[in-house]
Symmetry: C2
Subunit: 496 residues, 2 copies
């Protein structure tokens, strides 16, 4: 008779080894699977019972079904041909960190509820701070995602408007709260606008500043928008530049923006979720130029720092304002050591806190700063190489600068580009349709997965590099497939 | 030469087996460790280097340090003597689920970015919905914590006030938004007030309704508060009863509250983070009485359903309002299948989404509904037994009803209770000090960890049962220690 649920130790050991072996095998050849799951909607749901079982099932059966039913519906972010969104890697040390965290199952809400969880978080985020070249005044905390880190930073920025007493009095039912205005570029991530919505500032609270030819925030437009808002009686309170935008990885001129924030007394929150990690490469430290003047900055180790999702680090030079915005300590959460230690529950929305620091610490130690820099440097090299191939090919064109590891481009077959006259709206619409179809066909190969964006009306393909398993060979293969599918599509369209 | 970071497969296999073996050994005897970490502030920080290494270190060294430096600073939530806060268990199937999720490392933001992650989430939360006895109209989503689930529910409740257009226009700089009012009991969890603060409603947006002798929301007071607010021109919009409050696990009269919400047209959000799971026991289904009329309800499998932290399920009968509050889809997140499938990024704050459904699904299958019910029933039996011991002892008293698995009590030694006259403020202050010291001494034994709360000025000890390893023997041992330390403390105080 098997014992369901809380397994006898030998059964756990056996199942754990089976899982480790499966992972070892999986991570040795994720390319045996199609990168983008080739399943139709509801396939997995249809394959599973409608209800939970009454009697417990043996763990072996559950693991069998994991392999047979779940894995075929997985889109493989570990696949070396994963070039979509931001390509990531949950490295082996990070996976082991997650395993150990799950086993310890501590809730690090208070220092007392696991001193090691709190202190290892302080250590790991401080190590990372140094690697990023941020000054010692920045204190860090780990959140799940940049969406939440930015939300918390903007909440702190709002709380810094102390005369408005928003924490106590809220913003509704009052006539003495002016329109609060946050500035970010038109290329900023959607999470910034979402944060404003959640915080009750609304879309009306966000002014999207135009960008230059290289998709970077136009600082004179920023200054103008702030002046106009002040003239209209609104209250500017926060500017959110991006270091490494999602569409093109453009880098806003943070130093110039910081000067505006300084003179206007605004909270400067930098979204460096993806590109912040690049500052670990000595010759790329400049990506965080000016960020030493930021009030807060978010960097996601789960993006380009080999840490399994989720792990987002928020740094701020005003931790008291952050905790002032969030701390709420009922009697049942008071401890005898409060005041001597840090209770991370005071630093954000979530009371329950997983022990995320462990995986980050294990990654930093296992790779070392040089090991990290080497790999990031290689990713950038591969992206530059691909960008070069695109530039050299008459039927393709690059659509944005490639400062880091993401290439924006499109197919531009001579015949099609000329249709309706090169450069006209008709020609662009035809190219948009062509590239959208090309992307669908590429992703259907199962060998590569790219995503897209829109750049001023141009349907843009993105090739993002950030996976430790991606080598030059994989990038070359992607380029081969892109050319092949491009030719085939051109032929098919020509013959239709 | 070792390869740092992304380990060669055989090295990962070896390190993975070592981790599994360590966990197997650890989970067989967590009671070998003190339950509450017996460390001073900064011990762990002092034991670690000030900076990350430049060169990568072998994974074996990192695992050595995990065992030597990290584990001694852990408060062991797995210890059978863990009776603090809400006692939890990350069961073996859940740990394996986390390991596999970390290895797959998918971001389930979109259906396409891992169809299995989205569909398994739909399956797992629907299985759980059935086990809880909630009607089919409830659609679920997994969040990290109840803090975030409740924040999202209240944001949806705010969004349901469609005439105010808060998503678009925000609440600042307007004179046409009345004070928005949310009602919850004075015993509600701090996360409800925190959500109101974050959402810009402020503490002023929350009316805490008094509770009855058994710490349950007084519905006539609720109705009166709503009427008064309407008379004052405020806008009631949401009521948040609790099923299983943090201090005493009291259960608000949801059915009667639902009638108020129905007649007043208010969003009814139920915080059943801890106690919702009890509804899986057939004879305890009544804990969710009335919840079939809720607009949303949160239940945390990471609390009392053997799933490793973090896993909180939010159900709502108005998913369109929830997604209306949160959905924001930039071009780079559009896919060809949108409209045919569910993109869970639209259901909350975080864009990045860990594959949390896997562990929940593995737990539900491994235990089965009967296996879950059996264990929860046993936890309740143990709590009732302990409550009985307290009731029978002349020097202790219970301070609240014990509907589920948490007992609120205090020592009340005859000599001390009489000091200054029984029942006076002086006597109570003396008892408060006595129990606070008693708790500190108990927790210093390393054998048990209890936490406390305040009930109307009374310092209250809480014994919470929810750990799969806790047997009657452990509860009896806790009771022995409580009596022993009580006697010692009385003696020490008498002699001082």
């Amino acid at each position: 008779m098997h014992q369901a649920g809380d397994l006898p130790v030998e059964e756990f050991r056996r199942a754990g080894r089976r899982a480790v072996d499966w992972i070892a095998s999986y991570l040795s050849h994720p390319e045996d699977y199609p990168v983008l799951a080739q399943v139709a909607p509801n396939e997995l749901r249809a394959a599973l019972p409608k209800s939970a079982p009454e009697a417990g099932e043996p763990i072996e059966t559950v693991l069998d079904d994991f392999e047979k039913i779940v894995v075929p519906g997985i889109t493989h972010w570990n696949h070396p041909g994963f070039f979509a969104y931001f390509s990531i890697t949950g490295s082996a040390p990070g996976i082991l960190g997650e395993l150990l965290s799950a086993a310890l199952n501590v809730n690090g809400m208070l220092w007392q509820t696991s001193p090691a969880a709190t202190e290892l978080e302080e250590v790991a985020v401080d190590w990372l701070r140094q690697l990023l070249g941020l000054p010692a005044g920045f204190e860090g905390v780990i959140m799940d995602t940049a969406s939440v880190s930015s939300l918390c930073a903007i909440a702190a920025a709002r709380h810094a408007l102390s005369d408005l007493e928003i924490r106590e009095r809220g913003m509704a039912g009052r006539t003495d709260v002016p329109l609060l205005r946050l500035y970010t570029s038109e290329q900023a991530h959607s999470s910034i606008e979402k944060a404003a919505i959640v915080l009750g500032l609304g879309k009306a609270g966000v002014q999207k500043i135009p960008t230059d030819d290289e998709f970077r925030m136009d600082v004179s437009e920023l200054a103008r928008a702030i002046a106009e808002d002040r003239a209209a009686g609104h209250r500017p309170f926060c500017v959110v530049p991006t270091v490494g935008t999602t569409s093109t990885t453009s880098i806003d001129p943070v130093r110039a923006i910081a000067e505006v924030c300084e003179s206007e007394d605004l909270w400067l929150h930098v979204d460096a979720a993806y590109a912040g990690s690049a500052a670990i490469i000595p010759e790329y430290r400049h990506v965080l130029d000016g960020c030493e003047s930021a009030t807060s900055i978010v960097v996601n180790p789960h993006k380009w720092l080999f840490t399994p999702i989720d792990c987002s680090v928020l740094y701020t030079t005003q931790p008291d304002t952050l905790t002032g915005a969030f701390s709420l300590v009922p009697e049942y959460l008071r401890t005898a050591v409060d005041g001597q230690i840090r209770n991370y529950m005071d630093w954000g929305v979530s009371l329950g806190r997983r022990f995320r620091a462990l995986k980050l610490w294990m990654v930093l130690r296992s790779f070392g700063s040089q090991g990290i820099a080497e790999r990031l440097r290689e990713h950038i090299r591969l992206a530059q190489l691909f960008a070069h191939w695109v530039d050299e090919h008459p039927d393709f064109e690059r659509l944005a600068p490639t400062p880091l590891s993401v290439v924006c481009f499109r197919a531009r077959p001579a015949g099609l580009a000329a249709a309706g006259g090169s450069g006209t709206d008709d020609a662009n619409a035809a190219l948009n349709r062509f590239n959208e179809t090309l992307l669908r066909r590429l992703n259907a190969t199962g060998e590569v997965y790219l995503s897209h964006t829109d750049l001023r009306g141009v349907y843009t393909l993105r090739l993002a590099i950030g996976n430790l398993r991606t080598t030059e060979e994989h990038v070359a293969r992607a380029w081969e497939l892109i050319q092949r599918e491009g030719r085939r599509l051109e032929r098919d369209e020509g013959s239709s």
